[in-house]
């Protein structure tokens, strides 16, 4: 009996990510969810600009590559044209929380019936480790060589906290992939986000705290520990919004 194997909705080719980069784990989780829900044939994925730009080669479903930050708008277009398809975007922090902030906020405000996988690793990976909108105060990057000084570079953007204030979005959860328990929770959250779309509940965003060993200058193991010691305290894990659950609670009261 097979206990564990590569999910079918990942194409059988090696991924280009650096050793120990957790993009690979998150790709696999998305693919496992697609397999378990049996939706590969009707899923359309939107790849970002950033490290995951070539995600279109890795997922076996139909894929499109969006301009930097525009994935939620592209996903909106696809979903409006083909409501019967399941549409997800896969975006990094620079893509989603900096250049694409407007698209993120407004697709959430419209409660667009799409699923967003938001990979937050607090740095621009593809361009070589620049400060991201989610880089932590004091974090050293190529463009914050003395550490992120919030007096000049401002504060990190907390996407889930910000979006939960909107009436629009259906589901917002922050997870991490820094250990086995958290990876399993992350998968559950991603499955929820896809299921919400299947049930026409609307906008679901899963923020995944992720590592970038290469640009953080750490071993893959140390990078996962850094998520625990530095990122999770600043970006607490948990469900930030679950409208259906909240509505159910209200009804029961």
């Amino acid at each position: 009996m097979i206990v564990f194997e590569k999910p079918k909705s990942l194409v059988d080719i090696p991924m280009h990510y650096c050793p120990g980069c957790t993009h690979g784990i998150i790709h696999r989780l998305v693919a496992e969810v697609i397999d378990e829900l049996g939706i590969e044939g009707k899923t359309i994925g939107v790849a970002p600009v950033g490290c995951a730009v070539m995600a279109y080669n890795y997922f076996a479903c139909d894929m499109i590559e969006a301009a930097h930050g525009r994935a939620p708008a592209v996903a909106t277009g696809i979903k409006r044209a083909n409501p019967e398809n399941i549409v997800f975007s896969y975006q990094g922090d620079g893509d989603l929380a900096s250049i694409g902030m407007a698209e993120t906020v407004h697709s959430a405000a419209r409660n667009e019936n799409i699923t967003i996988i938001f990979v937050n690793n607090a740095i621009y990976g593809m361009t070589g480790g620049q400060m991201a909108p989610t880089s932590l105060p004091g974090q050293v990057t190529q463009t914050s060589p003395y550490g992120r000084d919030v007096k000049t570079a401002g504060f990190p953007v907390k996407v889930c906290e910000m979006l939960k204030e909107l009436d629009g979005p259906e589901y917002l959860e922050r997870v991490a992939v820094n250990n086995v328990v958290n990876v399993k929770k992350a998968k559950k959250a991603i499955k929820k986000a896809f299921t919400n779309q299947l049930e026409n509940k609307g906008f679901s965003l899963i923020e995944v705290l992720s590592s970038c060993p290469t640009n953080w200058g750490m071993t893959p193991d140390d990078a996962l520990k850094w998520i625990d010691t530095n990122m999770i305290p600043y970006y607490p894990l948990g469900v930030y919004k679950d409208r259906s659950a909240q509505n159910k609670e209200k009804e029961e009261l």
């Binding site: 194409v11 590969e40 044939g41 009707k42 899923t43 359309i44 939107v46 730009v53 070539m54 279109y56 080669n57 997922f59 076996a60 479903c61 139909d62 894929m63 499109i64 590559e65 969006a66 301009a67 525009r70 708008a73 592209v74 996903a75 909106t76 277009g77 696809i78 979903k79 409006r80 044209a81 083909n82 019967e84 398809n85 399941i86 407007a102 698209e103 906020v105 407004h106």
Partner: protein, 355 residues
Amino acid sequence: MAKKVLMKGNEAIAEAAILAGCRHYFGYPITPQTEIAAYLSKRMPKIGGTFLQAESEIAAINMVYGVAATGKPVMTSSSSPGISLKGEGISYLAGADLPALIVNVQRGGPGLGGIQPSQSDYFQATKGGGHGDYHMIVLAPSSVQEMASLTVKAFELAGKYRMPVMMLADGTLGQMMEPVSLDIKEAEKFDTSWALTGTQMKRKHNIVNSLSLIPEELEQLNFERFKKYEIIKENETMYEEYLTEDAEICIVAFGIAARVAKNAVNSAREKGIKVGMIRPITLWPFPKKPLYDLSDKVHTFISVELSMGQMIEDVELAIRCKKPVMLCNRAGGCIPSPEDVLAAIEKANKNGGAL
């Protein structure tokens, strides 16, 4: 004869788009094109279509990119400053070989400019606007009827050649009312086997993409795209020729400028001046051949434009600078009068080819 209705140019575009089979529109308010959005916001929900007021021009064009990738007819509209914002998305549409209609109801610029009609986005429309080696087919209507008929043509060309098509109108054409026949058939459908519909587990995944990291492969894609452009130049160039058989002077004008210029041509003819006009209907591809063919017969060309002189460069290139090309223009939202154009014709007639 088909029944005619009185419509604004902007509304004619909107209704024609629906008749052509377009069910998806994304836009952002900007004068002087807002009637397109207003019209479609009324109509689309009644016919099961999508009207979505996006958060920005950038979002709107990327929503267009998404629908285009599903192989369905889709459009957006804006005016000059908004088209600049769409530049990125247009480049991506071209790079991913996706069909879409982008309407530019031009206003004066640069910058925020004004809200009065202009043709000063000619360079932007015909030479790029976005980054990279690409072209759009650029259609220039000069009546409300053409606003409608060229809209259908635009969807057909976009689908046939899998590329963005721009309708380059201006504030006058957008706002003015004329009788228009809406005897319009749905745009012809084209192969969409490349589109994103979900694999249904029956085929390998389709990928819509403009990234190509291997230089030789990217070069090849550019070569192939430009082969397509050559076919378009050969087969899709459109223009109107008016009284050119015996002409010694040739006006070149498109859109609203051509309407004004035609009056001036008629007045000049009454005075016995042998003047004709070429009106490009496609600005890209530009009607180079008819202009070149005329360059041996006429002694002067006059480019009439609502800009500081943009199309004039293409006229000079088309005739290989064999004859002088005068510029008769207004800018910033002003329109040359028939008298202005007539004065230019009379000057050309007097000079006889010497500038």
